[in-house]
Symmetry: C2
Subunit: 361 residues, 2 copies
Amino acid sequence: MKKSGKKNRPAKGGNSDGRARATQNPTIHEVSRLAGVSHMTVSRVIRGLDVVLPETRERVTKAIEDLGYVPDRAAGGLSSRRTGFIALMLPTLTNANFSAVAHGLTEALRPADYHLLITYTGYSLAEEERQLRNLLARRPEAIVLTGTMHSRAALKMLYAADAPVIEVAEMVRQPIGFAVGFSNYEAGRTAARYLIDKGFHRIGAIASTNDGDLVDHRGDERMRGFADELRISGRPTEFVLRQGKPPVSFDHGTAIAPLLLEKKIDAVFAVSDLSAVGVVMECHRRGVKVPGDLSILGFGDFEIGREMCPRLTTIHVDFHALGEATGRVILGLLTGKDEASPTIVDVGLRIIERESVGEPK
Amino acid sequence: MKKSGKKNRPAKGGNSDGRARATQNPTIHEVSRLAGVSHMTVSRVIRGLDVVLPETRERVTKAIEDLGYVPDRAAGGLSSRRTGFIALMLPTLTNANFSAVAHGLTEALRPADYHLLITYTGYSLAEEERQLRNLLARRPEAIVLTGTMHSRAALKMLYAADAPVIEVAEMVRQPIGFAVGFSNYEAGRTAARYLIDKGFHRIGAIASTNDGDLVDHRGDERMRGFADELRISGRPTEFVLRQGKPPVSFDHGTAIAPLLLEKKIDAVFAVSDLSAVGVVMECHRRGVKVPGDLSILGFGDFEIGREMCPRLTTIHVDFHALGEATGRVILGLLTGKDEASPTIVDVGLRIIERESVGEPK
DNA sequence: GTGAAAGCGCTAACAT
DNA sequence: ATGTTAGCGCTTTCAC
């Protein structure tokens, strides 16, 4: 079993002429020959069609085992017109909430034997467009991507696509096809409402800016909701601060903290927990008390916020459930039992009160 | 352009009978008809073979545009025997270092138009085996997975696979095919050496246990190296603590911290920064000074460790570079210019000294 | 219950 | 420079 230390593994794959080829996978024909049946019977066994006589099935199964045969799904898909691919485009995989979406979707899809084709756009619309084109070449049976903002060309492809489109992580009002998410705008308003009701006066918010092609549209929506609620309550919006480009992380908060302090803000809503944590860290360093001197409300309920000190008050959205709900919509569409898959699913959100928001002085 | 709010998008995809079908993508033949050439000429244009007369190419390109034609790669692959898939199996996508591997690999592969087929095993060998089987059905041109520990059946498939196998994130001595990683064992020894040289006496370590099928083999190796170095230096290994199952996160550290304190350990190596951060947080809460009362050395150099207070001393491995190096090995193998892709690549590691390790009392 | 024929949408290998 | 033929490894459809 053990292979001696030859450099190029000449026995299997990756042979010296470059192209991976070599041993060649066995085909359905070789299996059928070994089992003494036609390739069609093998095909039936593979697909679990129970028309096959038990003893025939057994012979075929054995031949499959002996040969180590693995059916080629590309060939099968070409013929059946079902590729078994679900395309998933997310801004980044580094964000725990987006990877939770991927996890949830994977789990919901697991029983149905679909394969997730995951890509990340890095918050770039141009990249989204480029990847969409690539993805389309794989003929996905459904396309999942983060909602609302797309390039013209991407939009065109999406509308023309031969597969249902599900926009996630934002409560799209006029979805291309379907939407599973929550309202980022409402999240922003909820955040502002909460801070206002607490009685704070110098209320601010922090988020990234949009740097040309790089946009965090969902973060924008939260900021828009936040500012609107401030306005509605007759509060100034001058403390809604934007800095740096997406994705935001700890260093975003660290970098923007001095500005917060300088402006004597007493409560701030961070576009992401990650940024919020950065602010807390910087406050620690400068001897500024949280929440004594500055109250901080995050978004996303990242694990770190539950463990840090003070524990972070934040807005929670169940992204894992969002992924699962997306999977259920897809299954409904593709398995087609239930006629009416819901066009729009709102998974909601809620504030989790912990320690980083206190009382106004 | 805007579609009215019909529930089931009957126009495109996801039609009422379930199966996604509908408008049907145009084929190479329809393009060729529209352009007034044979389908082969279209094929040549698609693949950028520059034998085609510029004016012919232009006609074809226009037809492609007009029809919104996207070539079906499954069909092309079936014929050319090049699927353009690279399989990537990682324990989890939630871990920033593993997603860095995915990012690095993606970037290295970007120019070559490969598609990453990413799956995560949740540290389960059984799941790895299951997924490998699924992946194989897609005929990947290369298989990337975390090294060393595989089930018997998985091993068999890997050896029989018609594609080069690259084991990553561990310095595999006898790789199935290729290996790109670093020595987790050496990381453990380095950690112990560092703490010993600092002059600490009650030196401990924390990691997860292996819970049946769930194993963090790389973490194990770090612990093994750590304990070995302790032994070599004549130190007791009684403070090498194992608790909980993988994956390890903040709460692992939080939960194990009391034990650390109880045993009056003065310096500890955490199998992961995440766990280390949990310990720091719990110490904060209990008024235990870090590094005054307890020094902590992490592993993985996660972003949070750079931002927290005190900043975490840790062992850094460039996982992004690891992913890129993996991509280069693959490209070398598949593009096959250079005869000899290296069988084993060591990306190394280094200690980053920050604030969480102090001086012995 | 099983098999034969005819593709699925492309590309390889030859013509021309 | 372009076209023709013959598959790639499966599933569909229709016989038997």
